[in-house]
Symmetry: C2
Amino acid sequence: MKRTLMIATALLTATNVWSQPLATCKPNTLNIPGAPYPCIMPDRTAMFRVNAPNAQKVTVSAGGRVEMTKKDDGLWYATTPPLVEGFHYYTINIDGSSVSDPATRTYFGGGLWSSAIEVPAADADFYARKDVPHGVVRQQTYYSTVTQQWRRALIYTPPGYDTSGKMQYPVLYLLHGWGENEVGWTDQGHVNLIMDNLIAEKKAKPMIIVMDNLNAAKPGEDASIYNARSVLTQAVPTPPPAPGAAPAPPRGGMPRMSNTFTEMMFADLVPTVEKNYRTLPGRDNRAMAGLSMGGFQTFNTGLTNLDKFAYLAGFSGNCGSIGTFDPKTSCSGAFTNAADFNKKVKLLYLSTGSVEGPRVKQFSDTLRAAGVNVVYFESPGTAHEWLTWRRSFNDFAPRLFR
Amino acid sequence: MKRTLMIATALLTATNVWSQPLATCKPNTLNIPGAPYPCIMPDRTAMFRVNAPNAQKVTVSAGGRVEMTKKDDGLWYATTPPLVEGFHYYTINIDGSSVSDPATRTYFGGGLWSSAIEVPAADADFYARKDVPHGVVRQQTYYSTVTQQWRRALIYTPPGYDTSGKMQYPVLYLLHGWGENEVGWTDQGHVNLIMDNLIAEKKAKPMIIVMDNLNAAKPGEDASIYNARSVLTQAVPTPPPAPGAAPAPPRGGMPRMSNTFTEMMFADLVPTVEKNYRTLPGRDNRAMAGLSMGGFQTFNTGLTNLDKFAYLAGFSGNCGSIGTFDPKTSCSGAFTNAADFNKKVKLLYLSTGSVEGPRVKQFSDTLRAAGVNVVYFESPGTAHEWLTWRRSFNDFAPRLFR
């Protein structure tokens, strides 16, 4: 109550508090209600404003770090170079402390709750909320016998699911990336809207989409797969090693695959879905896909369980390390016999952003050279970010369950 | 991708990065995975840590403002006095800039995405996730003809809803408070878990709970009902008034009621719910409740629509201003004839935290003195905060639809 009264008092005594940006600078759609900054200009430069009265130095990291300048009104301002289209996490740095911007909604990305800016894309229509029938996203609680914890999956059911009687649907298991969680595909990715639009245009079959959290550890198992960022933000400066001391061992891998996730998926998640939702049975009605680390996990889980999945996809994530990749032995040996693989797997789909490096393209080329059928997609002009994955999904989903 | 590489590089070069708090200091359950601070001691004091290498002054506002101290490891630390049990929003202030703490999940409260700490309560069992059948929380998208925008409601369906055939359920419309949104009751309030537990113990009837967003404005209408906090955080310092100038007019009211919300509710929300969910018809199967501003809204909507609701509740929110309240005329004259009111309304429920001031109690006493039947509940030791409202809901829900 004290806080409410303080705010009320401040409101009553404050007047003329708005300093509006240029009319051509459109507020970021992810801003909290009424916040005029950050805003985006027609040339895709973005303007930021921060209230940090006693700070010595303030920067914003959005598509590169930009120094902010304190203006006459006592607030800090910056304008970035033109940003790439799409959704970007960003941070503010105040006197060395990297924090989120109070002006925007936060999203779980990079292992913490981060500010975000949505730069309008020319092709934004495919993920817009349109006047079409909409599916429902459900929070499904279930107990994992493997991790011995309660877990939450988000489950998209297509329009009409509740009124379609006994109709059964195919299922796509869809995974987020490193440092994100089970809400990434809906909150950042708008996968429910993309799917609603595809179904309305009869471009994709109605399907159930299951989005779970990659973080799965048994009791006593190292759960640090998601903790890298919190190490950084909470880091204690490391003393320099003593002269002549052996170099310290590296602190575990970054994006890595989890066999515990696979075990949990088949012991707990799939049975929960198939018990509680009207799913079509068998591998021809099951697909698995993921982005970045979720792509690695998809291949880790899917390639060793081809009796359960006929469709697999990695968006900006695959299963091999170029250089050491050998189609005969890598990826659990799934590609040893290309003809067999092609007969079994109805779709192997790989995608990447055109400016995020050649790894996925090289992987796709290597597989094709070994005789494996691959559908490869590239998102023009985008990096390791959500617009790459929204576009990938939009291109991928129509190919499922045909 | 650049960011991912930077993080990976930092990880590989950083060793011994953890400075663990005392073993008796339990990490806040709302921390991001792996973050050891903030943590809570058995005496309910809380320890905070912030990485702000070049800051001059850092404070934490959690149950009062506490100055942080820079220690030898270069990080800022503070220990608060013992905190009250329950869920508290809090902020960090770095050189005058009020921001959220990167170490915790953020919640939409006070009009922005705010850090939070959960101080274990002695009675926490009633909102714990237990081994009982769990309901499902659904994100229901619908178009509002009144606001001419797409909206989202969260809808709780009780355990067994999907397999109970044609069974119909009563409906509770449940509203959040000022500066929060439609996820407040599930994310901060755990209302789904409270309900699961009550149903498992056969203390409450299975019901559908509809949680919408109070923010409802027609095109061109002032939508600033939620914008007060963004005004504060983005404030431009106000120049002092010229000598002799008239005092500036106040900037609108804070918690206020919205007739547009009521109109939208009956035109769009209730029809969406009754079309898409198996609801029991009629006022005897409809309840409305809300906290703080949502309580005001409940009385604004409910008391003028007693043909539609037989159960009404305000948690830390009512409809009158003590001092000017007159049972004969206030609150749309709903209490003019107490006997009539008592016959019509099966439950009028009011609650408050014992340390948030006497307003609700006074309101309840005034109504009782005028002959109106009121059930009044007080949460011991809590203020205008979520533990008050979790407890209120837990006491209120069993009284519904009897």
